[in-house]
Amino acid sequence: MGRQRTPEGPPPAPAVQKLRIRYAKRGRLRFSSTRDFSRALERALRRAGVPMAYSAGFHPHPKISYANGAQTGAASEAEYFEISTTVRVDPDKVRAALDAALPDGLDIVEVVEAQPGALADRLQASTWRVEFRTEEPGVVAAAVEALMSAERAEVTRTFKSGPKTFDVRAAVLSADVSGATDPVYAIMHMVVRHTTPAVRPDDVLTALRAVAHFEPLTPPLVTRLSQGPWDDARARVADPLAADEAVAGT
């Protein structure tokens, strides 16, 4: 009596393997938030029978770490997280089992065994597709050109800590527009470097409104196509799991 409580029973089994996982957020599930996803994932891992490693203590949590999730409302083909397991598992089998256990629209694309090096360090830039379903490509292109030829484009967004003003222009590494006029349809592809605070596609839209008075009639459909290391020489976003795959393949 009166002693400090400690959790009963043996300590949790140690983690023996770390997996890096890429997933897509598609269709109507683009409206799921990062918190919504983490709840769904924890349950899916249990349904799939993945032998998760847990933290110690009174409130054990499965060991999962999330990296740089897309905002609520944005679709994505390239979201990442890592999990740790207490038993070695086959990444391909986990991919299939976990995908089956998640709702349609949250789709597991790739699972690899993690090699040394932090995943977060490799997520340096993203490519985004922004689809305007009610705008002329020429109008969008003109607005984008105005933004790209500006020195700076400051926007203000409200964070938990209060409003912050930051430059959008420097983070946008490239942007181009294609589309059609009948029916009216414009697609902007852009590469955005990950900065602090992160420049999100809606910040770019805010900047387009400020710089070029561009205001789409309906909100565009935003999709992250990829994220990864920024390859300066080839001016492209590389695959963040390539280093892990290379080792697995040897």
């Binding site: 009596m1 009166g2 409580r5 393997q17 109507r28 599930l29 409206f31 799921s32 938030s33 918190r35 919504d36 996803f37 709840r39 769904a40 924890e42 349950r43 899916a44 891992l45 249990r46 349904r47 799939a48 029978g49 993945v50 032998p51 847990y54 009174f58 409130h59 054990p60 499965p62 609520t72 409302g73 397991t85 038993v87 070695r88 598992v89 086959d90 089998k93 986990v94 089992a97 256990a101 709702p103 349609d104 629209g105 309906t218 909100p219």
Partner: protein
């Protein structure tokens, strides 16, 4: 392009989802949700549509409504029918309501985003009366006339169920029918009747199908009854206004819970909800006989699910959902005849899987530390909650909550001794015959709890939280005749209790105090024991913008009182008449023609017994005391023990599933 019945509105909704809070609540696609072909029941040779379609609503926000067991059970039961389908809809938040109106879009289901107005039946489950204004929002958005009298063949049949439907009179204007009692078997009966009527080419239209349903004696159709009033405002009589309609409508009772193992595949939401767990109802009904408790009175008799049936439901439900907590639900879960074997068996089965067990409702006198330890073996140890309900021994006799102060002190001493640090105690204020003194004794009790806890634990950092709200008399209980305590009097009594708790510096900081204002209780009281005249008040409130009355940030007492002034003008009765007035034995109560099985004379005797401070035992362990339910409903107590045990399983989550290994 004209709207095709059953067509999805998702494309129209999608741009709006960018602009609302928590859009995930509107998109559906939850794990274990179902979308069926709109014409799953096919067509007759002459082209008549044979599918029976239910839109089910829990009239509160998605985060509250999704976990509701009743709705999930009906959703699954109906969707298992080859010729029927069910989809769900919940109350939209005001931001979404404004956008739907701006864009001229209807209330839709979350499953396939079909218009609620396209369904055959629009079923609403009312756990509480505070969802009534939300029903009106949904009807209006759905394009369904608010008043049943204004609906035609093109509109769904609007049906109310749930505990609040045991007095459907306040919403009689707005519903076409009410189903009283257990819903799982009843919805199938209604589905069959509607299917047969549709197969016949819908003869006689809306009136005919309602008449066929009413003739069963298990479906209440308010339009088939007239209410006459006495000059003083009391009801003179309630009588059917057409042939073939029974004078009283009976509640439905499912006798063997093991035959209804629903929900089999619990819905797993993406959005955060109020209960993040899977639930298994381990028994239905309660005969402890607490006189304030409507749920206990209207769900009699006790029907237990067997320990093996529970084990199967937990196994299947966890495998289908991946939840990490299992709630063993009932009105008083520790009263299950095999609760010890059940909790031990489940804790053994799920050892090492981080799967928690919880008993959301536990009586002080049925609780013990072994039970508590089994509940926390694999999961998290949260606080313990008990509900003595009344502060003094005297008032606990009045309410027949037969828990002595010694029971409570012994139980909390054991809990603090076993390492718990936090105990929550629930009470009510405004019980019949209550005085300030009865409520002030809560402070003494809480101090004794802390003193005992400090002694047995040897620590100072233990806590006790007192949570208290105003008592609302409910239909079909011995207190249905009682005067409710007014809002001001309730608040004054709670203030005295707060001061009494805080005044003693030795304990004050160890005792938390949470209370609910008296005002919402008055509105709940009006809606609980109201009659058809209250319908105008509900409509006035809704027209004035009233929504989400169960949420303190949306609830407006002033709006309700002003609406009551307008809505009840000319009737000679007012809010006080419905709430703080004590009724006499001879008064016709608005719900007398709804048969809960309880004998009105027995309820009156028990009310008199309460006033005399007399107690009634539990008929599970002592002889029958003639409440009337079993003979009236042709039912009997269905309890164990079965003597069976739960054998170990190889469960999911306990290790890698075969086939995942490297």
């Amino acid at each position: 392009m004209p709207h095709q019945p059953g067509a999805s509105y998702f494309a129209d909704l999608e741009p709006l989802l960018e602009q609302v809070s928590k859009p995930i609540q509107y998109v559906g696609g939850e794990l274990n949700s179902t979308v069926k072909d709109w014409h799953v029941g096919g067509h007759a040779a002459n082209g008549d549509d044979l599918t029976v379609r239910w839109a089910l609503m829990y009239p509160d926000a998605y985060e509250v409504g999704l976990p509701n067991q009743g709705t999930q059970i009906l959703y699954e039961v109906i969707n298992e029918c080859d010729n029927a389908l069910a989809e769900r809809t919940y109350s939209v938040w005001p931001d979404m309501e404004a956008l739907l109106r701006e864009h001229d879009l209807p209330q839709v289901t979350v499953d396939a985003h079909r218009a609620v107005g396209d369904f055959d039946v629009f079923g609403l489950s009312f756990s509480t009366e505070l969802g009534y204004t939300n029903m009106l929002t949904a009807l209006d958005l759905a394009g369904i006339p608010l008043h049943a009298a204004d609906r035609d063949e093109s509109h769904p049949l609007v049906v109310a169920g749930g505990h609040a439907a045991f007095n459907p009179e306040t919403i009689a204007d707005f519903i076409d029918m009410a189903i009283i009692g257990d819903g799982e078997q009843a919805v199938l009966g209604v589905t069959d009747l509607i299917a047969a009527w549709k197969a016949e080419g819908r003869p006689g239209g809306r009136t005919e199908i309602l008449a066929r349903l009413a003739a069963t004696g298990g479906v209440y159709v308010p339009a088939f009854f007239d209410v006459d009033y006495l000059p003083d405002g009391r009801i003179q009589r309630v009588s059917p206004n057409r042939g073939g309609v029974p004078w009283r409508t009976s509640k439905h009772t499912v006798t063997d819970l093991d035959e209804w193992p629903y929900p089999k595949t619990p819905l797993v939401p993406l959005a955060e909800t109020v209960h993040e767990r899977m639930s298994v109802e381990i028994f239905r009904g309660c005969t402890r006989g607490c006189r304030f408790c409507q749920a206990g009175m209207i769900t009699r008799p006790v029907r237990e699910r067997s320990i093996t049936g529970i084990g199967e439901m937990v196994e299947a439900g966890l495998a289908a959902s991946g939840f990490e907590e299992v709630g063993l639900l009932s009105l008083s879960s520790a009263d299950h005849s095999e609760i010890a074997e059940m909790t031990k068996g489940l804790a053994d089965r799920y050892e090492g899987t981080n799967t928690g067990l919880s008993l959301p409702s536990t009586r002080v006198d049925a609780f013990n530390i072994d039970l508590a330890n089994e509940l926390t073996r694999n999961g998290r140890r949260s606080g313990l909650t008990f509900a003595p309900e009344g502060g003094s021994e005297r008032i606990r006799k009045v309410i027949n909550k037969m828990v002595t102060e010694e029971d409570l002190i012994n139980t909390v001493a054991a809990a603090y001794g076993a390492g718990w640090r936090q105990v929550k105690l629930y009470f009510m204020c405004g019980l019949p015959t209550e005085t300030d003194e009865d409520v002030l004794q809560i402070a003494d009790l809480a101090k004794r709890v802390i003193e005992t806890g400090r002694q047995v634990s040897g620590r100072r950092d233990i806590r006790c939280t007192v949570s208290i709200g105003g008592f609302v008399p409910k239909p079909h209980t011995p207190f249905q005749w009682a005067a409710q305590l007014g809002a001001e009097e309730t608040d004054a009594r709670l203030a005295k209790l707060r001061d009494a708790i805080r005044s003693d510096k030795r304990y004050g900081s160890s005792i938390g105090f949470r209370y609910h204002d008296g005002e919402p209780g008055v509105v709940e009281g009006l809606l609980s024991r109201g009659d058809r005249r209250v319908g105008r008040v509900i409509e006035e409130v809704w027209r004035d913008g009233g929504r989400f009355d169960g949420w303190s940030e949306h609830f407006s007492y002033e709006r309700w009182m002003a609406a009551a002034e307008r809505g009840l003008a000319g009737t000679g009765v007012d809010v006080a008449w419905y709430t703080t007035r004590e009724r006499e034995q001879s008064e016709v109560l608005p719900w007398d023609h709804i048969d809960s099985g309880l004998d009105k004379d027995w309820l009156w005797e028990d009310w008199q017994e309460a006033l005399a401070g007399g107690e009634v035992e539990d008929c599970r362990w002592t002889p029958c005391f003639d409440c009337g339910v079993c003979p009236q409903m042709g039912t009997s107590i269905e309890i164990g023990p079965t003597g069976k045990t739960l054998l170990p399983l190889s469960v999911v989550g306990g290790g890698p599933r075969p086939g995942l290994e490297a």
